[in-house]
Amino acid sequence: MSTHDAHGSAAVAAGASRTEGRRPGPWPRAPRAVSLRLTLATAGRVLRQIRNDPRTIALLVVLPCVLLGLIAWMFDGTPVLDQFGPILVGLFPLVIMFLVTSVTTLRERQSGTLERLMTMPLGKGDFVGGYALAFAVLATVQALVVVAFAVWVCGMDVAGPVGLVVLVAVLDAILGSCLGLAASALARSEFQAVQLMPVVLFPQLITCGLLMPRDEMPAVLEAVSRVLPLTYGVSALQDVAAGGTFADVAGAVAVIVGFIVGALVLGTLTLRRRTA
């Protein structure tokens, strides 16, 4: 055995500090503040990737319109679209953005590019923030197109301000992205990532008040619905559909923003520079 002990000890004796023991946790030093330059660069890179993939863009924007169009057609001549349309406008983007984001970030993990970035001077917050920003841009485009389609093509009539529908729809879509970012940390394969969608979203869909008014639910389910973010998105959109103003939905909007921030922090904390 030749293990080069002389060189090893010489180098180690003068080395700066020891890395003894398991260190699975977050970085021992205080994490660097998020860099705006690197966050923007990452967002730009993600958007450039998506721009090079026109089919994904088409799916992101066209699919919710088609679904909404089908519902408008099905309930033609009834007030169903005016009542439920705004809610669906907020719901479809949430589901789609969740899927798109969790699969995209998972691909980044599997391709080795995330590992490369983790050896580079890119903060974990820059990475998660960049993704969130890129998908927020997409979410905004998506929400604007879908609301425009619902109002002008399908004839959806919103009692409250249409701008509020757009605002809540954008926030819902960003929420979907951020939940997808956080969830992708749990998935080890694309197969698992897709299956996380029902795990994360279905309980929210069931209890959010879409299937049954929340005050008619069993007390336990009503309590569960209070801690799930979609409840507040649906409640805000229901209020707007019924003629509510910004003052009526401000509380719900604040809760959604809180969940977005929480999901971003969770996504950043679950990102590891060192893996087993």
Partner: protein, 258 residues
Amino acid sequence: MGNNDHVIGIRGLRVDRGGTTVLHELDLAVPERQVVGLLGPSGSGKTTLLRTLVGVQVVTAGTVDVLGRPAGDPTLRHQVGYVTQSPSVYADLSVTENLRYFATVLGAGARDVARVIDAVDLARHARRRVGTLSGGERSRVSLAAALLGEPRLLVLDEPTVGLDPVLRRDLWDLFARLRDAGTSLLVSSHVMDEATRCDRLLLLRDGRLLADDTLPGLLERTGAHDVEHAFLRLVEDTIPPDGAAPAGSPRHLGGKAS
């Protein structure tokens, strides 16, 4: 030799992955301004060792110093270039778009992007989507990204795998030029022939260092005529005649290493 002559110092490094020990109490030092080859068969722990050096591997025990800092130290992220085994670049971006992004992350300029594209001879394909390139071209894009910002140490995990002999020769020429310009390189390979292009060799097998020597030194010591045979000699010398020792038993291997 003092510490200044070394870019990597490892002592007592142990890495466990999924219940098995991948690296056993490893001790080694890598001198600066040399092309050091990390040779060993698939599964010998090469990638785990390189991942440890760039600070993305959870370490069970031991000390790993890189450029005088503990491996993974934030200051090293500007100074160590790393190429993973499979090309870690974005298939849906062009060569230039990929390198521009990594250059921004590293704080390197647009001229540096042009420089590294030339260094890996991809100027003709600069505007092409990486997904449309061949496997060898993709791995050169990945290598180009590691050259950005002129790192002091390059850690390259099998950069020549799957390349045709001409390209392989060109890449080893590039490594020699980088060394002459002052860069230190640690290059892993499972192709024993590539030993002839290295200034120094580390032979790894089952997570233990078989040899740390120059090629002539290794051949002289083992009496073999090439690295392949030197490797075999060393394996035969290490494994006792009863031979049934299972790899991955730390107590056994610890005893043997002493």
